[in-house]
């Protein structure tokens, strides 16, 4: 057992009814690493993120997080060490600052507004603090969602296709912020359809197909000398999805 792993998954399976959507015999996610998860839609990537954020309980298997073996009820203090930014940013009604401050308020943080303002400035949107959240563009909303996630300084940040459908400027802004969070030691799991993004940001890359991880390797190895022919096909763009 690797004591540095923040997550350890053993024989994890998730079924929706009869359908097996996730089947992971073993997976360790190292503390402080940035792991990219690629693969076609329906491969089980989002399901895995939901399990890692304790939003779903796997039907089978053992999930360990930060040294704790978890059951169906995860203590709130452990839940609060992980957060997710989803593909479609779901913002609360109210101002942009209210949104960024939300996680801090939940935790009764002593400096809610100051910290929220700093986090908003860090994603380059300090000038929009008082704007109504619903007036933001898609890219701005996603950056606000990222600021809202990072302001609570999570141990683990899960990103579910955070730059899908965004323009290059917003993609660059989000990637900069993610890379900065990683430098500060946040463990990051990035689901992306963009293999170039995976290559730019990740230390390790995993390819998922039909609920299984078929290849997991350091980024360089994954792209240069993949073991599985399906990985080669995926990288070359021969795998249509």
């Amino acid at each position: 057992m690797n004591t540095e792993s923040i997550y350890q998954l053993e024989a994890i399976q998730q079924r929706y009814g009869e359908r097996l959507v996730l089947d992971i015999p073993s997976l360790q996610i190292e503390r402080g690493e940035l792991l990219a998860l690629v693969g076609p839609s329906g491969a089980g990537k989002s399901t895995l993120l939901r399990i890692l954020n304790f939003l779903e309980t796997p039907t089978q298997g053992q999930l360990r997080f930060a040294g704790h073996t978890l059951g169906s009820r995860v203590p709130l203090e452990l839940q609060r060490r992980v957060t997710t930014v989803f593909q479609r940013p779901a913002l609360l009604s109210g101002s942009v600052l209210d949104n960024v401050a939300y996680g801090l308020r939940l935790r009764r943080h002593p400096q809610v507004r100051e910290r929220a303002r700093e986090a908003l400035a860090a994603v380059g949107l300090g000038h929009l603090a008082r704007a109504a959240a619903h007036t933001l563009s898609g890219g701005e909303a996603q950056r606000v969602a990222l600021a809202r996630a990072l302001v609570i300084t999570p141990d683990v940040l899960l990103l579910d296709e955070p730059t899908a459908n965004l323009d290059p400027a917003n993609v660059a802004a989000i990637e900069r912020t993610v890379a900065e969070a990683h430098r500060r030691g946040t463990t990051i799991m990035l689901v992306t359809h963009n293999i170039f993004q995976a290559r730019r940001l990740a230390q390790r890359v995993a390819l998922m197909l039909d609920g299984r991880i078929i290849e997991l390797a350091p980024t360089e190895t994954f792209f240069e000398t993949p073991h599985d022919p399906r990985t080669t096909a995926f990288i070359k763009g021969d795998m249509l999805y």
Partner: protein, 230 residues
């Protein structure tokens, strides 16, 4: 025009009987709405946001309750509170307490049903996001209620509208006793029966006016909330 004049005379002239009726109407329906809100809003959000065995049955009962004939509720409460009834020992029959109880039973399904619809209308992805940000189950429910606040206010408006204008149940369990359980609706019935149409119409105008002013105030609040939601 005479009726309007009569209504104004009754109100401005300081007719104590009329004012007592107005105040009692507001007290009974106000307390009933408050109790319904305290019970109904959490229950509505619970039913809307959680799955549990028998949920469909509970929803069906709530929907049935939303359209329940008030006079049937009045009869049930009457039997419940009558001397030989299970709650007869309370001695509530023909008191404002009995009227409040009947009105709570009438308003509760409306408050629960509309609150449930309101929280169900909030984007489910937002609920997942709130949980992912570390909200406890209670914090998640409160956040969803806040997001659904305009709909929750509609639930309260519907509940109040349902009980302030109701006559059958309060007539049965209150007994329309002057100075004790006479409210606007029951007074209108009595004055009409007596042939005192001018007083009946004047009271009807007062009832309409009160309902209108309260709805206007709630709409104003709804407008403020809508603005806050943007």
């Amino acid at each position: 025009m005479n009726y309007w004049q009569e209504a104004i005379n009754l109100l401005v002239g300081g007719n104590s009987d009329v004012w007592a009726i107005i105040i009692l109407s507001l007290q009974v329906s106000g307390v009933a709405l408050l109790i319904s809100a305290i019970i109904g809003v959490p229950l509505g959000s619970l039913i809307g946001l959680h799955t549990f065995p028998g949920r469909q049955l509970v929803i069906a009962i709530v929907y049935t309750g939303m359209g329940f004939p008030p006079v049937v509720i009045g009869l049930a409460v009457f039997l419940l509170l009558s001397r030989s009834g299970p709650l007869g020992f309370l001695g509530w029959l023909f008191t404002p307490s009995a009227m409040v109880l009947a009105q709570v039973i009438l308003a509760l399904p409306l408050v629960i049903g509309f609150t449930m619809s309101a929280v169900l209308a909030v984007d489910p992805a937002l609920r997942t996001q709130i949980r992912a940000l570390g909200a406890s189950p209670t914090q998640t429910t409160l956040a969803m209620l806040w997001e659904a606040r305009v709909g929750v206010l509609v639930a309260l408006i519907a509940g109040f509208g349902g009980i302030i204008s109701e006559v059958g149940a309060v007539m049965l369990v209150g007994g329309n006793i002057q100075g004790s359980t006479r409210v606007l609706t029951t007074a209108i019935v009595l004055e009409t029966r007596k042939g005192a149409f001018d007083v009946a119409i004047a009271l009807a105008l007062v009832l309409l006016g009160i309902t209108f002013v309260i709805n206007l105030a709630l709409l104003q609040l709804q407008g403020t909330l809508l603005k806050a939601k943007q």
